[in-house]
């Protein structure tokens, strides 16, 4: 039980990144893989500042700014230089590896002696229950803000940009500026996942972001499949389903581990899961 609850909290922590990928992939239809870099960036900034005794209230905005800069960089490369979004993301992600290594100063920082965001609550007896509530409250706040933003005039303009670029330009919206903003928001959300996971796992490692974009992608695909299946149109409910997708994904990995799969195979299992999520519907469609 503990084991699955722990996977659930991890899923919550990663659902911020899933929301980010939902924005780029489903709202803007841009494949952004800056994620691997901005996730570790968020975790690295968090670890370094936590060990320097910075308060969380200051670490959160710094983490967000770091993520935003990563997204803006990818956005600028993509829109200004007209470079394919995938390549722009790879360029920034690769560059970020060195940035992250320099931020960390070494390949990993343990966070055992510091007060993390997960120590903030002490209502329940079991630490894991407190951690669950911290996760729920934090993600509730993030998704609430995001849902609000998507309903504003600005949010509608954002959603229109990925939907019909000719229309947005004709209605006075600068699609390039919108895409840069969207990539910034997505990578802020990803960096916040790094912020949470570093504190939840009590360490930051330079390699923790490798392949993490696939976890986010799988989560969004699960959430999106449910959204389409149930025909959900209301944007904040859609966000909830994306977060649910992230939790489900971690549950699937937890089940695999509990069945005795060697943890060294975790990335392979992740890849196979995503392949299955993408591939099975196509195979079924071909059969029909």
């Amino acid at each position: 039980m503990e084991f699955y609850l722990s996977a659930l909290v991890l899923g919550l922590c990663l659902s911020s990144m899933a929301l980010g990928i939902f924005i780029t992939m489903k709202i803007f239809r841009i494949p952004d893989i800056t994620t691997d870099g901005s996730y570790t960036l968020g975790a690295a900034v968090t670890a370094v500042l936590l060990t320097r005794q910075w308060p969380l209230a200051a670490i959160i905005p710094v983490t967000m700014i770091a993520g935003a800069l990563a997204g803006i960089l990818t956005g600028l490369v993509h829109t200004r230089l007209k470079i394919d979004a995938l390549l722009a993301g790879i360029l920034v992600m690769t560059g970020l590896y060195s940035v992250n290594l320099n931020v960390l100063g070494r390949s990993n920082i343990p966070l055992l002696e510091v007060q993390t965001i997960f120590n903030a609550l002490s209502i329940f007896e079991k630490p894991l229950h407190n951690e669950l509530w911290v996760g729920l409250l934090f993600l509730g706040l993030i998704s609430g803000l995001l849902a609000y933003m998507l309903r504003t005039d600005f949010g509608i303009a954002m959603r229109a940009t990925g939907n019909s670029e000719s229309m947005t330009r004709a209605l006075g919206i600068n699609p390039d500026a919108m895409k840069i903003t969207g990539l910034a928001i997505a990578n802020v959300l990803t960096a916040l996942s790094g912020f949470l996971v570093a504190q939840y796992q009590n360490f930051t490692d330079i390699n923790m972001g490798i392949g993490i974009v696939l976890v986010g992608l799988g989560s969004v695909l699960i959430g999106d499949a449910l959204i389409n299946w149930l025909g959900i149109k209301i944007i904040w409910v859609q966000l909830l389903f994306i977060m649910g997708g992230s939790i489900l994904f971690q549950m699937m990995l937890a089940v695999a581990l509990s069945l005795g799969v060697n943890p060294s195979l975790l990335k392979l299992i992740t890849a196979v899961f995503v392949l299955a999520i993408v591939g099975i519907p196509r195979l079924m469609a071909r059969r029909e």
Binding site: T152, A160, A170
Partner: protein, 249 residues
Amino acid sequence: MIELSHITKVFNRGQANEVAALQDVNLQIGEGEFVVLVGANGSGKTTLLNIIAGAEFPSEGAIQIHGEEVTRVPEHKRSRWMARVFQNPLGGTAPELSILSNFRLAALRTSRKKLVIGINEAFKASVREKIAGLDMGLENKLSQPMGSLSGGQRQALTLLMSTMDHTDILLLDEPTAALDPRSAEIVMQAAQKIIQDYGLTTLFITHNLRDAHRYGNRLIHMVEGRVARDLNAEAKSKLKLQEMYEWFE
């Protein structure tokens, strides 16, 4: 209102597939003029509209709108003067957004899209009333995604969206080409009414010579990227449909 001087547009310059879509086009379009553009496929009509809208920049020449030089001003900045209906019904609307959201953006064409929720009951009521005027029964479907509507419904709504915010100029690129005759008729009637009510300066591209004959107060015939004929209101009113058909023989 709109002044084009020596506009030339060459695509793929210096390559084997070089096309001179417009060649030294000079046009002055006055306020309130309703200009109908006809011409064979590939004669440069859409390119001309794109250059006025800022979706393409001319290779040579200059454009002024309201006496302001706008030759290099991008489309999203020119949209404060003009609204547009595309040939493709998908072009002018966001299919996954609701009718209401589409209208909300149209209502903000000339202003900033801020971080505030602008769709309230008053806004809904005003959109409902506007759409009811179309008489297509769409006023009760405001929360339906735009993509669930037929091409004719979407073109009629796109047209209506152009009146949600102040506009001086209306650009219509074969707005009825993708529609069945009945929808085409409804859309053209709606266009005619909007153009008259708001006194819009209009450019209307059509392949339908009956429409070209029936609507507008100026007629321009384009041939191979040049203005071959330019008829003012009087000449246009005297023009017989049969004569127009002969231009295309």
